[in-house]
Amino acid sequence: MKALCWNGTRNLSIERVKDPVILNPKDAIIRVALSSVCGSDLHLVNGYIPTMKAGDIIGHEFNGEVVEVGPEVKKLKKGDRVVVGSVIGCGECYYCQHDEWSLCDNSNPHAEMQEKMFGYPTAAIYGYSHLFGGYAGSHAEYIRVAYADNGCFKIPDGVTWEQSIFASDALPTGYMAADMAVKPGDIVAVWGCGGVGQMAIRSAWLKGASRVIAIDRFDYRLAQAKSQGKAEIINYAAVNVLEELKALTGGRGPDVCIDAVGMEARSGNKLEHAYDKIKQDLRMQPDRPSVLRQAILACRKGGTLSVVGVYSSFVDKFPMGILMNKALTVRSGQMHAQKYIPHLLDLIQEGKLDPSYILTHKWSLDDGPEGYSMFNDKADNCMRVVFDPSLSSY
């Protein structure tokens, strides 16, 4: 089959590889219908996540059709249309059973590697480095899904591939960002208006926010936050974010600050950006924390910081004293896909939520490398490019 492989920093290519097979009794094989890029992939592509190996198939946000099931798969059958959570959960460990799927004890074959780095292993993620299990990703014609009964969710009747694909990753991530932090009546600020930020904005309303303020520097993304997300907007490249947020909140600051940007944040302050970028490029700090710093300053006293933007390990100049003295609460995590997907698919079917507007480009898998450079450069007003392996590039 065809697959999009990572060969090194900013080096992707389409390769012919063997088809996946069932390796464990609870596995299923899915014929991929749609597979999306995600901001998390940019951290891999740009070389900021360790333990990638040349030849790894990337991609983790996808849906498709079941074509084969292992002997212990009970709930699925050939022909089912499913959306699959990007995070792999066994369903049996303490964490899965407490709906904290991204903390699964058992799904990561490279648990030892994570134990050394994190103290304890976390769940595996498709196509997301060997530290996170080394599972082959979804930018391919077929993918093997582990613990398939837990990872695959049937797409309700009347819901299309385009409407359901983001229930795999961007939507549950944005939803979890709000679910962890937002109480009815809260003023919510969201840093980052990519797919994840857009979904966080929608979810903040669903959780009862009284106002939502979105921050980014790309006008087309801010425009979507406004038109689709009904958010007030701040262009961080044009104004002072802290002053603007104060002005918009009667001098109190937002109750909830959501980081939907992560480790490749830019800073509106050129000096701060240069400092973080140089240290990151010299590998003196793996992550650039300018959004975290700003959110901690901006947040109202006693407020909550909700971090779903991805960080790999250490950050520099973290304002711990401000966080502590302002009595802030921090919530965070890779998202618990399996906890949220059923509810989100219901909302989509009921017409209460339609994430498909973040699908701005549908391309052939052959165009994977170009798709990633467009997404990385935020060119052609790209929010998310989605690959359809059945399309051929001409």
Binding site: N7, A54, E72, G91, C93, Y94, D105, M117, G134, Y147
Partner: protein
């Protein structure tokens, strides 16, 4: 010696104390590094803590369980300590472990475990870094249903080992297992250097097999990516 002189030699006892403090700090630092995985010899942490415990108490938990009189030479012994929690009821976890012939189902380096009767079992394993298989006979020397299991290798084994597992309720987390395995590397006195080099590998192998026990008990399978496609074996066009 003038004890009141501020320029004279310090009393011996103070020097001794300083040295003790320095070595305690250094020891703690090494242990910390070992625990944090900064040091290639991180896997010695368990053995270090264990030996420390023995040194301080003069008591070896494994051998006291096995009522063994003779303490083996600690320099040649490897002690692996592990603790894990399995999300299943204690009786079930105990019964699964006690059925030793099941272990090769999921412990990748175990080839076979054969019941020889009378509480004796033959074990055959394949150790990375060693040619061929190693085998040993071991006897269950202590058993408390649902609580404790202790074994000891019989004379003539390729690997001289002893161990004990205890099982304890952990509320809604399931069952806690505390495991101590003591063994002497399989190469005899002549191969001591080689054995030292292989020990971290053995320890990480034992811990991985314990992880596999948990994975198999909880989910019925061991996660793997062996055999999946990648661009490392391109098919060509």
């Amino acid at each position: 010696m003038n004890e009141n002189s501020s320029t004279g030699n310090k009393p011996d006892v103070n020097v001794g104390q300083t040295e003790r403090i320095i070595s305690a700090v250094a020891g703690g630092f090494l242990l910390y590094n070992a625990i944090a995985g900064r040091n290639a010899r991180f896997v010695k942490a368990g053995a270090g803590a264990f030996l420390l415990y023995r040194a301080v108490t003069g008591n070896c938990p494994v051998y006291s369980v096995l009522r063994k009189k003779r303490m083996p030479d600690p320099a040649r012994n490897i002690n692996v300590r592990a603790t894990l929690t399995v999300n299943r009821p204690r009786q079930e976890v105990y019964a699964f472990w006690r059925n030793l012939t099941n272990l090769p189902l999921f412990m990748k380096h175990l080839q076979t475990v054969t019941d020889l009767g009378g509480g004796k079992y033959n074990w055959v394993a394949n150790m990375p870094g060693l040619p061929g298989n190693v085998s040993w006979d071991a006897e269950i020397v202590k058993e408390e249903e649902g609580v404790l299991l202790g074994w000891n290798a019989l004379p003539g084994s390729d690997i001289d080992n002893a161990g004990k597992v205890t099982f304890a309720d952990a509320g809604e987390n399931g069952t806690e297992l505390h495991i101590v395995i003591t063994y002497r590397a399989p190469l005899g006195p002549a191969g001591r250097v080689v054995a030292r080099a292989l020990n971290p590998l053995f320890e990480s192998l034992i811990k991985e097999e314990l992880r596999n026990f948990k994975r198999y008990m909880e989910t019925g399978e061991v996660p793997t990516i062996q055999g999946q496609p990648s661009g490392r074996e391109p098919l060509g066009v």
